[in-house]
Symmetry: C2
Subunit: 216 residues, 2 copies
DNA sequence: TTATTTTTTTAGATTAGTCTAAATTTTTTA
DNA sequence: TAAAAAATTTAGACTAATCTAAAAAAATAA
Protein backbone atom coordinates (compact mmCIF):
# COMPACT_ATOMS: atom_id res chain seq x y z
CA UNK A 1 0.00 0.00 0.00
CA UNK A 2 0.97 3.60 -0.52
CA UNK A 3 0.81 6.46 1.94
CA UNK A 4 -1.61 9.34 1.62
CA UNK A 5 1.22 11.66 0.57
CA UNK A 6 2.42 9.24 -2.10
CA UNK A 7 -1.10 8.96 -3.50
CA UNK A 8 -1.43 12.73 -3.68
CA UNK A 9 1.86 13.06 -5.53
CA UNK A 10 0.90 10.36 -8.04
CA UNK A 11 -2.45 12.03 -8.69
CA UNK A 12 -0.82 15.44 -9.13
CA UNK A 13 1.73 14.00 -11.56
CA UNK A 14 -1.06 12.28 -13.48
CA UNK A 15 -2.97 15.53 -13.95
CA UNK A 16 0.16 17.50 -14.88
CA UNK A 17 1.14 14.98 -17.54
CA UNK A 18 -2.36 14.20 -18.80
CA UNK A 19 -1.67 16.03 -22.07
CA UNK A 20 2.04 16.85 -22.44
CA UNK A 21 5.10 14.88 -21.42
CA UNK A 22 6.81 15.52 -18.08
CA UNK A 23 5.88 17.23 -14.81
CA UNK A 24 8.52 19.53 -13.32
CA UNK A 25 9.49 19.70 -9.68
CA UNK A 26 8.10 23.23 -9.37
CA UNK A 27 4.82 22.35 -11.06
CA UNK A 28 4.30 19.50 -8.63
CA UNK A 29 5.26 21.71 -5.69
CA UNK A 30 2.79 24.39 -6.63
CA UNK A 31 -0.04 21.96 -7.34
CA UNK A 32 0.46 20.35 -3.90
CA UNK A 33 1.17 23.59 -2.01
CA UNK A 34 4.53 22.31 -0.89
CA UNK A 35 8.19 23.20 -1.48
CA UNK A 36 10.41 22.04 -4.32
CA UNK A 37 12.83 20.39 -1.90
CA UNK A 38 10.04 18.30 -0.42
CA UNK A 39 9.05 17.26 -3.91
CA UNK A 40 12.57 16.13 -4.78
CA UNK A 41 12.62 13.90 -1.70
CA UNK A 42 9.32 12.31 -2.63
CA UNK A 43 10.30 11.86 -6.29
CA UNK A 44 13.24 9.75 -5.15
CA UNK A 45 10.97 7.61 -3.06
CA UNK A 46 8.43 7.12 -5.85
CA UNK A 47 11.22 6.32 -8.31
CA UNK A 48 12.58 3.70 -5.88
CA UNK A 49 9.12 2.14 -5.87
CA UNK A 50 9.12 2.19 -9.68
CA UNK A 51 5.97 4.33 -9.77
CA UNK A 52 7.56 7.18 -11.73
CA UNK A 53 10.36 7.69 -14.24
CA UNK A 54 12.67 10.26 -12.71
CA UNK A 55 15.82 11.78 -14.19
CA UNK A 56 17.22 14.52 -11.92
CA UNK A 57 16.57 18.01 -13.33
CA UNK A 58 14.41 16.56 -16.13
CA UNK A 59 11.02 16.15 -14.48
CA UNK A 60 8.96 12.98 -14.14
CA UNK A 61 6.16 10.91 -15.61
CA UNK A 62 4.25 7.89 -14.35
CA UNK A 63 5.18 4.28 -15.01
CA UNK A 64 2.29 1.95 -15.88
CA UNK A 65 1.95 0.91 -12.23
CA UNK A 66 2.07 4.54 -11.08
CA UNK A 67 -0.63 5.42 -13.58
CA UNK A 68 -2.77 2.53 -12.43
CA UNK A 69 -2.65 3.83 -8.85
CA UNK A 70 -3.36 7.40 -9.96
CA UNK A 71 -6.38 6.30 -11.99
CA UNK A 72 -7.68 4.34 -9.03
CA UNK A 73 -7.57 7.45 -6.89
CA UNK A 74 -9.22 9.58 -9.56
CA UNK A 75 -11.92 6.94 -9.91
CA UNK A 76 -12.58 7.10 -6.18
CA UNK A 77 -12.52 10.90 -6.15
CA UNK A 78 -15.09 11.18 -8.91
CA UNK A 79 -17.36 8.42 -7.67
CA UNK A 80 -17.50 10.00 -4.20
CA UNK A 81 -18.24 13.39 -5.77
CA UNK A 82 -21.08 11.78 -7.69
CA UNK A 83 -22.38 10.16 -4.50
CA UNK A 84 -22.24 13.43 -2.56
CA UNK A 85 -24.20 15.30 -5.23
CA UNK A 86 -26.67 12.64 -6.32
CA UNK A 87 -27.37 10.90 -3.02
CA UNK A 88 -26.58 13.45 -0.32
CA UNK A 89 -27.74 16.54 -2.26
CA UNK A 90 -24.55 18.54 -1.99
CA UNK A 91 -24.01 21.25 -4.62
CA UNK A 92 -21.34 20.71 -7.28
CA UNK A 93 -19.20 23.45 -5.75
CA UNK A 94 -19.12 21.80 -2.30
CA UNK A 95 -17.80 18.33 -3.03
CA UNK A 96 -14.23 18.59 -4.20
CA UNK A 97 -12.53 19.05 -0.83
CA UNK A 98 -14.59 16.26 0.71
CA UNK A 99 -13.65 13.95 -2.14
CA UNK A 100 -9.98 14.83 -1.62
CA UNK A 101 -10.30 13.09 1.74
CA UNK A 102 -12.56 10.25 0.68
CA UNK A 103 -10.44 9.25 -2.33
CA UNK A 104 -7.93 7.75 0.11
CA UNK A 105 -10.29 5.18 1.62
CA UNK A 106 -8.44 2.12 0.48
CA UNK A 107 -10.97 -0.63 -0.23
CA UNK A 108 -11.43 -1.64 -3.86
CA UNK A 109 -14.51 -3.63 -2.99
CA UNK A 110 -16.11 -0.62 -1.35
CA UNK A 111 -15.64 1.58 -4.38
CA UNK A 112 -16.86 -1.10 -6.78
CA UNK A 113 -20.01 -1.60 -4.70
CA UNK A 114 -20.53 2.16 -4.52
CA UNK A 115 -20.18 2.28 -8.32
CA UNK A 116 -22.83 -0.42 -8.66
CA UNK A 117 -25.12 1.25 -6.09
CA UNK A 118 -25.13 4.42 -8.18
CA UNK A 119 -25.64 2.60 -11.49
CA UNK A 120 -22.13 2.91 -12.92
CA UNK A 121 -22.09 6.63 -13.66
CA UNK A 122 -19.72 7.68 -16.46
CA UNK A 123 -19.13 11.31 -15.45
CA UNK A 124 -18.75 13.20 -12.19
CA UNK A 125 -20.74 16.34 -11.28
CA UNK A 126 -18.20 18.53 -13.11
CA UNK A 127 -18.38 16.52 -16.31
CA UNK A 128 -15.10 14.69 -15.79
CA UNK A 129 -15.08 11.05 -16.90
CA UNK A 130 -15.07 8.35 -14.21
CA UNK A 131 -12.59 5.53 -14.88
CA UNK A 132 -14.15 2.07 -14.63
CA UNK A 133 -12.76 -0.64 -12.36
CA UNK A 134 -10.05 -1.35 -14.95
CA UNK A 135 -9.04 2.30 -15.17
CA UNK A 136 -10.64 2.81 -18.59
CA UNK A 137 -12.81 5.76 -19.55
CA UNK A 138 -13.89 7.38 -22.79
CA UNK A 139 -12.63 10.87 -23.35
CA UNK A 140 -14.92 12.68 -25.72
CA UNK A 141 -13.65 15.84 -27.39
CA UNK A 142 -14.64 19.01 -25.57
CA UNK A 143 -13.97 22.56 -26.68
CA UNK A 144 -13.79 25.71 -24.58
CA UNK A 145 -16.60 28.10 -25.45
CA UNK A 146 -13.88 30.61 -26.32
CA UNK A 147 -12.83 28.46 -29.28
CA UNK A 148 -16.25 28.23 -30.91
CA UNK A 149 -17.59 30.37 -33.77
CA UNK A 150 -20.83 32.36 -33.89
CA UNK A 151 -24.11 30.47 -34.29
CA UNK A 152 -22.65 27.14 -33.27
CA UNK A 153 -24.52 25.27 -30.59
CA UNK A 154 -23.47 22.63 -28.09
CA UNK A 155 -24.03 21.11 -24.68
CA UNK A 156 -22.14 22.27 -21.59
CA UNK A 157 -20.10 19.22 -20.65
CA UNK A 158 -17.19 20.23 -18.47
CA UNK A 159 -15.18 22.92 -16.71
CA UNK A 160 -11.49 23.69 -16.61
CA UNK A 161 -11.63 25.56 -13.32
CA UNK A 162 -13.06 23.56 -10.41
CA UNK A 163 -13.00 26.38 -7.85
CA UNK A 164 -16.24 26.94 -5.99
CA UNK A 165 -16.34 30.59 -6.96
CA UNK A 166 -16.35 29.65 -10.64
CA UNK A 167 -18.92 26.90 -10.16
CA UNK A 168 -21.18 29.17 -8.12
CA UNK A 169 -20.96 31.82 -10.82
CA UNK A 170 -22.00 29.28 -13.46
CA UNK A 171 -24.93 28.22 -11.28
CA UNK A 172 -26.10 31.81 -11.06
CA UNK A 173 -25.93 32.21 -14.84
CA UNK A 174 -27.70 28.87 -15.27
CA UNK A 175 -24.75 27.51 -17.18
CA UNK A 176 -24.60 23.99 -15.75
CA UNK A 177 -23.61 20.57 -17.06
CA UNK A 178 -26.09 19.34 -19.64
CA UNK A 179 -27.45 22.77 -20.67
CA UNK A 180 -27.78 23.30 -24.40
CA UNK A 181 -26.36 26.66 -25.50
CA UNK A 182 -25.94 28.68 -28.69
CA UNK A 183 -23.12 31.17 -29.21
CA UNK A 184 -24.98 34.22 -30.53
CA UNK A 185 -22.24 36.84 -30.52
CA UNK A 186 -18.57 37.41 -29.82
CA UNK A 187 -17.54 40.90 -28.76
CA UNK A 188 -14.48 41.82 -30.73
CA UNK A 189 -13.17 44.36 -28.23
CA UNK A 190 -12.60 42.03 -25.23
CA UNK A 191 -13.55 38.61 -26.64
CA UNK A 192 -16.59 38.33 -24.40
CA UNK A 193 -19.04 35.73 -25.62
CA UNK A 194 -22.81 36.05 -25.70
CA UNK A 195 -24.56 32.72 -25.29
CA UNK A 196 -28.20 31.78 -25.33
CA UNK A 197 -29.30 29.23 -22.74
CA UNK A 198 -32.93 28.28 -22.59
CA UNK A 199 -34.81 31.48 -23.28
CA UNK A 200 -32.16 33.67 -21.65
CA UNK A 201 -29.13 35.38 -23.11
CA UNK A 202 -26.02 35.90 -20.98
CA UNK A 203 -22.69 37.50 -21.70
CA UNK A 204 -19.59 35.83 -20.30
CA UNK A 205 -16.03 37.10 -20.21
CA UNK A 206 -13.23 35.60 -22.24
CA UNK A 207 -11.86 34.04 -19.05
CA UNK A 208 -15.13 32.30 -18.28
CA UNK A 209 -15.50 31.18 -21.89
CA UNK A 210 -12.04 29.70 -21.66
CA UNK A 211 -12.94 27.59 -18.64
CA UNK A 212 -16.31 26.37 -19.86
CA UNK A 213 -16.25 23.29 -22.08
CA UNK A 214 -18.90 22.18 -24.52
CA UNK A 215 -19.59 19.16 -26.69
CA UNK A 216 -20.58 20.19 -30.21
CA UNK B 1 -8.57 19.48 14.37
CA UNK B 2 -7.07 16.30 15.75
CA UNK B 3 -4.78 13.82 14.06
CA UNK B 4 -5.86 10.32 13.16
CA UNK B 5 -3.76 8.89 15.99
CA UNK B 6 -5.29 11.27 18.54
CA UNK B 7 -8.79 10.29 17.41
CA UNK B 8 -7.99 6.62 17.78
CA UNK B 9 -6.64 7.13 21.30
CA UNK B 10 -9.73 9.11 22.34
CA UNK B 11 -12.03 6.44 20.97
CA UNK B 12 -10.08 3.68 22.72
CA UNK B 13 -10.19 5.57 26.03
CA UNK B 14 -13.91 6.13 25.59
CA UNK B 15 -14.59 2.41 25.15
CA UNK B 16 -12.29 1.43 28.02
CA UNK B 17 -14.01 3.82 30.42
CA UNK B 18 -17.57 3.31 29.16
CA UNK B 19 -18.50 1.46 32.34
CA UNK B 20 -15.82 1.81 35.02
CA UNK B 21 -13.58 4.73 35.86
CA UNK B 22 -10.06 5.01 34.41
CA UNK B 23 -8.18 3.46 31.49
CA UNK B 24 -4.65 2.27 32.23
CA UNK B 25 -1.63 2.79 29.99
CA UNK B 26 -1.36 -0.94 29.33
CA UNK B 27 -5.05 -1.30 28.51
CA UNK B 28 -4.80 1.47 25.97
CA UNK B 29 -1.60 0.00 24.52
CA UNK B 30 -3.15 -3.40 24.05
CA UNK B 31 -6.38 -2.06 22.57
CA UNK B 32 -4.41 -0.03 20.01
CA UNK B 33 -1.73 -2.66 19.35
CA UNK B 34 1.01 -0.30 20.41
CA UNK B 35 3.58 -0.06 23.20
CA UNK B 36 3.08 1.43 26.65
CA UNK B 37 5.81 4.00 26.06
CA UNK B 38 4.06 5.26 22.95
CA UNK B 39 0.86 5.57 24.95
CA UNK B 40 2.53 7.64 27.66
CA UNK B 41 3.78 10.07 25.02
CA UNK B 42 0.32 10.45 23.54
CA UNK B 43 -1.36 10.81 26.94
CA UNK B 44 0.82 13.83 27.63
CA UNK B 45 -0.19 15.36 24.34
CA UNK B 46 -3.89 14.75 24.89
CA UNK B 47 -3.65 16.11 28.44
CA UNK B 48 -1.96 19.27 27.08
CA UNK B 49 -4.93 19.68 24.77
CA UNK B 50 -7.28 19.21 27.73
CA UNK B 51 -8.96 16.21 26.12
CA UNK B 52 -8.14 13.79 28.96
CA UNK B 53 -7.52 13.93 32.69
CA UNK B 54 -4.13 12.37 33.24
CA UNK B 55 -2.29 11.78 36.50
CA UNK B 56 0.96 9.85 35.92
CA UNK B 57 0.67 6.22 37.05
CA UNK B 58 -3.08 6.63 37.72
CA UNK B 59 -4.61 6.13 34.28
CA UNK B 60 -6.86 8.50 32.37
CA UNK B 61 -10.42 9.45 31.56
CA UNK B 62 -11.96 11.83 29.03
CA UNK B 63 -12.78 15.45 29.72
CA UNK B 64 -16.14 16.68 28.34
CA UNK B 65 -14.44 17.95 25.18
CA UNK B 66 -12.53 14.67 24.78
CA UNK B 67 -15.76 12.74 25.16
CA UNK B 68 -17.49 14.91 22.60
CA UNK B 69 -14.79 14.11 20.05
CA UNK B 70 -14.90 10.40 20.89
CA UNK B 71 -18.68 10.29 20.49
CA UNK B 72 -18.39 12.07 17.14
CA UNK B 73 -16.03 9.39 15.90
CA UNK B 74 -18.22 6.59 17.21
CA UNK B 75 -21.22 8.22 15.51
CA UNK B 76 -19.34 8.25 12.22
CA UNK B 77 -18.12 4.68 12.64
CA UNK B 78 -21.59 3.33 13.26
CA UNK B 79 -23.33 5.38 10.55
CA UNK B 80 -20.80 4.22 7.96
CA UNK B 81 -21.27 0.61 9.10
CA UNK B 82 -25.01 1.06 8.66
CA UNK B 83 -24.47 2.55 5.21
CA UNK B 84 -22.20 -0.27 4.13
CA UNK B 85 -24.66 -2.96 5.20
CA UNK B 86 -27.96 -1.31 4.24
CA UNK B 87 -26.96 0.48 1.03
CA UNK B 88 -23.94 -1.39 -0.30
CA UNK B 89 -25.02 -4.88 0.84
CA UNK B 90 -21.94 -5.77 2.81
CA UNK B 91 -22.34 -8.46 5.49
CA UNK B 92 -22.19 -7.41 9.15
CA UNK B 93 -18.88 -9.19 9.59
CA UNK B 94 -17.20 -7.23 6.75
CA UNK B 95 -17.74 -3.63 7.75
CA UNK B 96 -15.81 -2.90 10.93
CA UNK B 97 -12.36 -2.45 9.39
CA UNK B 98 -13.74 -0.27 6.62
CA UNK B 99 -15.53 1.89 9.16
CA UNK B 100 -12.29 2.23 11.12
CA UNK B 101 -10.97 4.14 8.11
CA UNK B 102 -14.15 6.03 7.23
CA UNK B 103 -14.75 7.29 10.77
CA UNK B 104 -11.88 9.74 10.25
CA UNK B 105 -13.46 11.62 7.32
CA UNK B 106 -13.76 14.95 9.02
CA UNK B 107 -16.86 16.71 7.71
CA UNK B 108 -19.77 17.12 10.16
CA UNK B 109 -22.08 18.15 7.36
CA UNK B 110 -21.29 15.00 5.42
CA UNK B 111 -22.15 12.74 8.30
CA UNK B 112 -25.34 14.64 9.13
CA UNK B 113 -26.49 14.37 5.52
CA UNK B 114 -25.61 10.67 5.48
CA UNK B 115 -27.66 10.26 8.66
CA UNK B 116 -30.63 11.95 6.98
CA UNK B 117 -30.17 9.96 3.75
CA UNK B 118 -30.51 6.73 5.73
CA UNK B 119 -33.48 7.92 7.80
CA UNK B 120 -31.72 8.56 11.12
CA UNK B 121 -31.00 4.96 12.13
CA UNK B 122 -30.69 4.40 15.88
CA UNK B 123 -28.53 1.27 15.86
CA UNK B 124 -25.66 -0.05 13.77
CA UNK B 125 -25.59 -3.53 12.17
CA UNK B 126 -24.20 -5.03 15.40
CA UNK B 127 -26.92 -3.53 17.57
CA UNK B 128 -24.78 -0.73 19.00
CA UNK B 129 -26.57 2.60 19.46
CA UNK B 130 -25.73 5.44 17.07
CA UNK B 131 -25.20 8.79 18.82
CA UNK B 132 -27.24 11.61 17.27
CA UNK B 133 -25.66 14.85 16.05
CA UNK B 134 -25.50 16.06 19.67
CA UNK B 135 -23.79 12.90 20.86
CA UNK B 136 -26.90 11.55 22.59
CA UNK B 137 -28.18 7.99 22.33
CA UNK B 138 -30.48 5.78 24.36
CA UNK B 139 -28.85 2.81 25.97
CA UNK B 140 -31.40 0.12 26.59
CA UNK B 141 -30.55 -2.64 29.03
CA UNK B 142 -29.17 -5.73 27.36
CA UNK B 143 -28.28 -9.03 29.02
CA UNK B 144 -25.89 -11.72 27.84
CA UNK B 145 -27.74 -14.93 27.06
CA UNK B 146 -25.55 -16.57 29.70
CA UNK B 147 -27.29 -14.52 32.40
CA UNK B 148 -30.83 -15.53 31.52
CA UNK B 149 -32.92 -18.29 33.15
CA UNK B 150 -34.72 -21.17 31.46
CA UNK B 151 -37.89 -20.42 29.52
CA UNK B 152 -37.24 -16.71 29.27
CA UNK B 153 -37.51 -15.23 25.83
CA UNK B 154 -36.02 -12.15 24.24
CA UNK B 155 -34.78 -10.52 21.07
CA UNK B 156 -31.14 -10.69 19.97
CA UNK B 157 -30.01 -7.06 20.16
CA UNK B 158 -26.25 -6.91 20.40
CA UNK B 159 -22.86 -8.64 20.56
CA UNK B 160 -19.90 -8.22 22.85
CA UNK B 161 -17.40 -9.69 20.39
CA UNK B 162 -17.26 -7.92 17.03
CA UNK B 163 -14.77 -10.29 15.39
CA UNK B 164 -15.80 -11.59 11.99
CA UNK B 165 -15.35 -15.19 13.07
CA UNK B 166 -17.93 -14.72 15.84
CA UNK B 167 -20.33 -12.83 13.58
CA UNK B 168 -20.01 -15.45 10.85
CA UNK B 169 -20.71 -18.19 13.38
CA UNK B 170 -23.87 -16.40 14.50
CA UNK B 171 -24.98 -16.04 10.88
CA UNK B 172 -24.59 -19.79 10.37
CA UNK B 173 -26.67 -20.53 13.47
CA UNK B 174 -29.25 -17.95 12.34
CA UNK B 175 -28.70 -15.97 15.51
CA UNK B 176 -28.79 -12.45 14.09
CA UNK B 177 -29.93 -9.04 15.35
CA UNK B 178 -33.71 -8.90 15.69
CA UNK B 179 -34.26 -12.68 16.02
CA UNK B 180 -36.65 -13.71 18.77
CA UNK B 181 -35.27 -16.56 20.87
CA UNK B 182 -36.32 -18.69 23.84
CA UNK B 183 -33.84 -20.24 26.26
CA UNK B 184 -35.07 -23.82 26.47
CA UNK B 185 -32.29 -25.47 28.47
CA UNK B 186 -29.03 -24.81 30.26
CA UNK B 187 -26.58 -27.69 30.47
CA UNK B 188 -25.32 -27.83 34.01
CA UNK B 189 -22.04 -29.57 33.17
CA UNK B 190 -20.47 -26.85 30.93
CA UNK B 191 -23.08 -24.08 31.05
CA UNK B 192 -23.97 -24.51 27.38
CA UNK B 193 -27.29 -22.91 26.52
CA UNK B 194 -29.96 -24.39 24.29
CA UNK B 195 -31.98 -21.74 22.50
CA UNK B 196 -34.91 -21.97 20.15
CA UNK B 197 -34.88 -19.61 17.20
CA UNK B 198 -37.72 -19.79 14.72
CA UNK B 199 -38.50 -23.50 14.47
CA UNK B 200 -34.92 -24.56 15.06
CA UNK B 201 -33.11 -25.41 18.27
CA UNK B 202 -29.39 -24.72 18.61
CA UNK B 203 -26.94 -25.29 21.40
CA UNK B 204 -24.36 -22.59 22.06
CA UNK B 205 -21.34 -22.69 24.34
CA UNK B 206 -21.02 -20.63 27.49
CA UNK B 207 -18.54 -18.41 25.67
CA UNK B 208 -20.95 -17.69 22.85
CA UNK B 209 -23.80 -17.12 25.32
CA UNK B 210 -21.61 -14.62 27.10
CA UNK B 211 -21.02 -12.59 23.95
CA UNK B 212 -24.59 -12.60 22.68
CA UNK B 213 -26.86 -9.90 24.11
CA UNK B 214 -30.64 -9.93 24.24
CA UNK B 215 -33.41 -7.51 25.18
CA UNK B 216 -35.97 -9.19 27.41
C1' DT C 1 7.46 -4.40 56.15
C1' DT C 2 10.77 -5.72 53.12
C1' DA C 3 11.53 -8.00 48.67
C1' DT C 4 9.72 -9.21 44.25
C1' DT C 5 6.87 -8.45 40.37
C1' DT C 6 4.21 -5.55 37.47
C1' DT C 7 3.18 -1.22 35.57
C1' DT C 8 4.46 3.07 33.94
C1' DT C 9 7.59 6.57 32.60
C1' DT C 10 11.96 8.34 30.69
C1' DA C 11 15.89 8.28 27.50
C1' DG C 12 17.44 7.83 23.17
C1' DA C 13 16.58 6.22 18.19
C1' DT C 14 13.98 5.80 13.90
C1' DT C 15 10.84 6.86 9.92
C1' DA C 16 7.80 9.78 6.98
C1' DG C 17 7.06 14.10 5.57
C1' DT C 18 8.04 18.60 5.71
C1' DC C 19 10.86 23.09 5.95
C1' DT C 20 14.85 26.85 5.12
C1' DA C 21 19.14 27.91 3.33
C1' DA C 22 22.91 26.82 0.50
C1' DA C 23 24.90 24.52 -3.48
C1' DT C 24 24.46 22.91 -8.06
C1' DT C 25 22.61 22.43 -12.64
C1' DT C 26 20.00 24.12 -16.48
C1' DT C 27 18.06 27.73 -19.14
C1' DT C 28 17.85 32.29 -20.74
C1' DT C 29 19.72 36.58 -22.05
C1' DA C 30 22.94 39.73 -23.54
C1' DT D 1 29.45 31.91 -25.32
C1' DA D 2 29.84 34.01 -20.94
C1' DA D 3 27.02 36.04 -17.29
C1' DA D 4 22.66 36.20 -14.99
C1' DA D 5 18.46 34.11 -13.72
C1' DA D 6 15.63 30.27 -12.80
C1' DA D 7 14.98 25.61 -11.51
C1' DT D 8 16.42 21.79 -8.92
C1' DT D 9 18.89 19.23 -5.60
C1' DT D 10 21.49 18.69 -1.23
C1' DA D 11 22.37 19.59 3.66
C1' DG D 12 20.67 19.97 7.91
C1' DA D 13 16.79 20.62 11.03
C1' DC D 14 12.00 19.87 12.78
C1' DT D 15 7.47 17.41 14.18
C1' DA D 16 4.39 13.42 14.86
C1' DA D 17 4.28 8.89 15.93
C1' DT D 18 6.41 5.06 16.86
C1' DC D 19 10.04 1.69 18.94
C1' DT D 20 13.61 -0.70 22.49
C1' DA D 21 15.96 -0.59 26.67
C1' DA D 22 16.58 1.25 31.12
C1' DA D 23 14.88 3.64 35.25
C1' DA D 24 11.33 4.63 38.50
C1' DA D 25 7.01 3.98 40.84
C1' DA D 26 3.21 1.14 42.45
C1' DA D 27 1.21 -3.17 43.64
C1' DT D 28 1.73 -7.74 45.45
C1' DA D 29 3.71 -11.41 48.12
C1' DA D 30 6.54 -13.33 51.51
MN1 LIG E 1 -12.78 17.17 -7.56
MN1 LIG F 1 -14.92 16.56 -10.16
MN1 LIG G 1 -17.23 -1.49 14.30
MN1 LIG H 1 -20.59 -1.83 14.93
Amino acid sequence: MNTLAEENYLKAIYHLTENDGNASTNQIASSLNTKASSVTDMLKKLADKALINYTPYQGVNLTPSGEKIALGIIRKHRLWEYFLVEKLNFKWDQVHDLAEEMEHISSEELIDRLDQFMGYPTHDPHGDPIPDCNGRFNTHELKPVSAVTINQCGVISGVRDHSSSFLQYLDKQQLTIGCKIIITDIIEYDHSVVVQTGNKEVQISREVANNLLIAL
